[in-house]
Symmetry: C2
Subunit: 212 residues, 2 copies
């Protein structure tokens, strides 16, 4: 051992980001309750005590993960849904593609699954996820659908239910990947699923006269 090597380094600015990244990984892998603060600390290269210099509680740490690592992705989708000028069909294809990409490259699916599984025991976790992500995304999607209905592009029906129909297969595919593939189930290919679903649902949603 080098006796001159420092035991640690003071890096106040970098710590929070590193801790949030480590927490994201551990929450995604283990879930909220089973995530060990010792492990998060170890992965972030600090001691458990250091966690409490930057975050008040485990829940507070989760809030930071949602706000910094997850929410920006959803905000991008929301912006797209709200700003899109063209016909509904194009909007839907665009959003689906973007969502599939985000699901493919981030841990959002794992964290969503975590939220689902632990909502009852940690309502605050569910509330954060709902208020900061889901409610906004759902409002944006159903708003776009309602607007398309007003233009006569989409058949009558509850816009909120349409929004649920739209995203549910993707969510279920993620759940499948996280839940059953590890115990031997055949995975679903996200691209196949998204394209087949978009075609099916468009055929079902679009009003008769609309272009394709």
């Amino acid at each position: 051992m080098d006796p001159g090597a420092p035991k640690f380094r003071r890096r106040k600015a970098e710590r929070p980001g590193e801790i949030v990244a480590a927490a994201l990984a551990v929450f995604a892998e283990k879930g909220f309750a089973a995530a060990r603060l010792d492990e998060i600390a170890a992965r972030a290269g600090v001691s458990k005590g250091a966690l409490y210099l930057y975050f008040e509680t485990k829940e507070d740490l989760f809030r930071a993960v949602v706000g910094q690592a997850i929410a920006p992705n959803i905000a991008a989708v929301r912006a797209m849904a709200e700003a899109h000028p063209g016909p509904f069909e194009d909007l839907l294809r665009g959003v689906a593609t973007q969502l599939a990409h985000i699901v493919g490259v981030t841990r959002i699916g794992s964290v969503a699954k975590m939220v689902i599984g632990e909502a009852r025991n940690f309502p605050e976790v569910a509330r954060v996820w709902h208020d900061e992500l889901v409610a906004h995304a759902l409002a944006a999607m159903s708003g776009a659908i309602a607007a398309a209905q007003a233009r006569g592009e989409v058949k009558p029906g509850d816009p909120r239910v349409y929004a649920l129909q739209l995203i549910s297969p993707m969510l279920l595919a993620v759940i499948w990947r996280e839940t059953f593939v590890p115990v031997g189930a055949e995975p679903f290919d996200l691209n196949t699923l998204v394209s087949q679903h978009v075609e099916t649902i468009l055929r079902g949603m679009l009003a008769e006269g609309a272009s394709t």
Copy 2:
């Protein structure tokens, strides 16, 4: 207190069923990890030690819950899907109705959510759920879809993906109810959702020439 009243009664035959019923309730409410054996025992009217007279471990108890309280419901759906003689459209409407009913009156949704949430930490739980329920149900549904495709009733496409598209909104609605409604979100009406989804998806799945 009545000094003549017995402290307990020996009821070897009834205990397992009562324990399984109590375990179902607690697993559904709390999830696997957060379910306390003390609480299960209390609800079953026995001591914790008595649990171990009938079940080896907590996981073993969960296996019994799946086998005795959940699997029979799914087996009924499966039988319907496999035996249905008429056109695909009728089969789909029948299965959807039956599923909506089961979801409405049993705790299957809560337990499904539990399995999803705790799969990674308790792979054995996920394996039991998949092997004894999901795999069979998915095979039956995609088999029926493939058969309908062979008869020219349903458009080309991966039958497994179609099956996923079919059931995913219902599952997501249950997840929504269990996860976000308790923290203030607006619930989805299961009947509205099922009927709108069936109409949408049928319009998207059925081949052009098929009747409606």
